[in-house]
Symmetry: C2
Subunit: 139 residues, 2 copies
Amino acid sequence: MDRIQEYSKQIRGSSRRLTRSRTVVLQVLAEADEPLDAAAILDQGRKLHPGLGRISVYRTLDLLVELGAARLIHAQQGAKRYALAHTSHSHHLLCRNCGHMVEFSCDGLEVILQRVSGESGFKVQGHLLQLEGLCRDCQ
Amino acid sequence: MDRIQEYSKQIRGSSRRLTRSRTVVLQVLAEADEPLDAAAILDQGRKLHPGLGRISVYRTLDLLVELGAARLIHAQQGAKRYALAHTSHSHHLLCRNCGHMVEFSCDGLEVILQRVSGESGFKVQGHLLQLEGLCRDCQ
DNA sequence: ATTATAATTGATACATTGTATCAATAAGAA
DNA sequence: TTCTTATTGATACAATGTATCAATTATAAT
């Protein structure tokens, strides 16, 4: 619950307004234990704030990702999914069976980045790392 | 050009038919030097085969990914993109400026997978790793 | 070559996902 | 409370992807 406080401050700090819609989207994400797509967030959000607009969900998600408060997660099918970020930089591991999700750090990735950078001549600026498997309960 | 041959055999080998549509999608992907989305593949494909249907593009892309002949690449915005696979297992590094793309192997990732597996209790079954940056020419 | 068979195609219509517009609203400052 | 303007959300639309099913065509059998 205090992650909401934290991100709320962050929104205010960026000279934006802390609106009902934004708070609701934050709440929905904070209560979810798996990544949700925009439609699901809208559904959940309307239980808390019936007037919530579809568009505000999309806009708020973009904002949260921009602020680093939420992460975009690529599901193998369907729409983009989003989850609240717990740490400043993290990646996600999803259960293929139940959708449960945990975060992990990418410590150790630098070795690969160095190698690839050398091989390709690219200047590597960002990475997307996402794992899939079965959680303890679903194995 | 002989990757097309190879993948054509693979399609036949899976007791599927090597149709005009499928060949055309393969050709378009083989000639591209950056990942293309379905719409772009349809456009290019219709130059070779005007009757090509939108749906066949989607179906063929699914098939190619299933066979391991093509890879799904997540662009930060817009539709899903696809690129022909050069090796049996690979990942992609995209230039943020010009869209140019190179493949790389994920040798060295096992260390991270082991660690995350231990920390989370998950049985890790698959991974998505994609890098972004600037290619030699765009730096 | 010709024919038979069934996988595949693609036109149409539709579903889903995401976006532009802009008057109305409401958050935050005075 | 009042003012200012960022933000909202209804509407209409654009873009992306899918279901249906008669027509087509790749392949095997003759």
